[in-house]
């Protein structure tokens, strides 16, 4: 069941995971960015975790609130991008319980929103490099008849692989792109956050 409670559990779990990894995220951003990605994600997810799920009877409303909260508390590149992701994910939810197909379609809409907002493609060394393969894996698994839990586990694996694959890339979008060749060898912070997001979904949504 992907109802409001499940979404709330996911968001709370992701917030905790971001908190645990905030130093790592900032540290990656220190190497190829401006040393704030951990603080940015933590500020945003702390605010999201403080939302009262009781106020949002349906998942769409809670996901929308999460997106708005990220947009209005994070700033930087990750605020609009993660915010847009959740706002678009929300549009796929109808009624009190998202079906696995709705959830997969929502992930796809979220990805499309991030691409539209940030204009990056796969291979540019951004969060899209873990989000896009995760969305594909989830869609395929759901289409093949997997449960949401199984599909999200495959998505999490794909996200992790996509995240790892950012290491040797040269950045072409975001701050890291200013480093040119020097951006090689460091894992993208945003892709790392996305991998945490999908990992958290896999362990909280069924």
């Amino acid at each position: 069941m992907t109802d409001t409670a499940a979404v709330a559990t996911w968001l709370a779990d992701f917030a905790a995971l971001v908190h645990e990894n905030a130093n790592l995220l900032t540290d990656l951003d220190r190497q190829i960015g401006d040393a704030d990605h951990g603080s940015n994600m933590e500020r945003g997810m702390t605010a999201v975790a403080a939302l009262d799920p009781g106020q949002y009877p349906e998942p769409a409303a809670l996901l929308k609130a999460a997106g708005m909260t990220l947009v209005s508390t994070v700033g930087g590149a990750s605020g609009p991008l993660f915010g847009t992701f959740f706002l678009r994910l929300a549009t796929a939810a109808t009624g009190p319980d998202m079906s696995p197909a709705e959830f997969a379609a929502g992930l796809e809409a979220g990805l499309a929103g991030v691409v539209a907002r940030g204009k990056a493609s796969e291979g540019d060394k951004t969060m899209i490099d873990s989000l896009a393969p995760a969305v594909r894996a989830c869609q395929e698994a759901i289409a093949g008849g997997d449960s949401l839990a199984d599909a999200l586990h495959k998505a999490a694996e794909a996200a992790a692989a996509g995240r790892d694959a950012t290491v040797p890339l040269i950045a072409r979008k975001g701050r890291a792109s200013y480093l040119g060749e020097r951006s090689r060898g460091v894992q993208d912070p945003g892709a790392t956050s996305v991998a945490l997001l999908i990992e958290s979904a896999a362990r909280t949504l069924h």
Partner: protein, 332 residues
Amino acid sequence: MKKLINDAGAVVRDSLLGVEAAHADRVRVDHEHRVILRREPTRQGKVAVISGGGSGHEPLHGGFVGIGMLDAAVCGEVFTSPTPDQIMAATTAVDAGAGVLHVVKNYTGDIMNFEMAAELADAESGVRVAAVVVDDDVAVQDSLYTAGRRGVGLTVLLEKIVGAAAEEGRDLDSCLKVAQQVVATGRSMGMALTSCTVPAAGKPTFDLGEGEMELGIGIHGEPGRERLPLGSAKEVAAQLVEPILADLDFAGDAIVMVNAMGGTPLIELYIVYAEVKALLESRGVTIVRNLVGNYITSLEMAGCSVTVLKADDDLLKLWDAPVNTPGLRWGA
């Protein structure tokens, strides 16, 4: 990390309290949205000019709020662009019927947040918003494969000039045109001797050895394009000026800023200025106005940047117009 702060998580909030305490004669602060505004509301019918971005670049932008320059500045977290809500709040607060010009430095985050704010402003309040994107940093090459050139030092010159245009009563389109002229004819390049430390991160963004410098840095404490041995001020001046001249023909009159990044003292900056001036003049550039000092900084970073802007009669008239802000003041 050694800083004069109360709480690494509340640096922007606490600093805005000080800005309000020090400059209440000229500005007021909307603490909820972290916006610094002129004390008096925008004159009816005047275009409002606002800017904003991550904090840590002071006096940019908040120090440039006042008569003849900005109507408001939106303050993000340190090195993090502000959110659309903050920008919206500033936009609606300063609109006086003639529209609002957003001065945006070209960073992915700034672009996206200002864009979302403009969408919101249009949808929710009908305020007419125009935006100029400053992208003057010649350190970023191959802009096909990057997020494009960063907005750096030219922003200071642009805010002065466009602020004067708006004060003079020019309409939104004219202000935008002046702004675009500045963007088209201004270039910058920077370097660092040391990194800075983002308070919430707690340690330096990068480490530089004795005798090393980062060439082609931006203003967010990010490493530059190249790490090179540190030479003399004369050599550094050439390393900053040559890429600027290679990018655009500046022969003729120019406004030049030699800017310190926050941790470089004036005694050094003047040495650089002398070298920059000599080099520019040897290439046919005549400096007709200048700024030498800390105008757009990266916290406590040591280093400097050079900005060159072509001057014409209109720009000079706007440059010379009175300005009265905490960070830049003349004729008033």
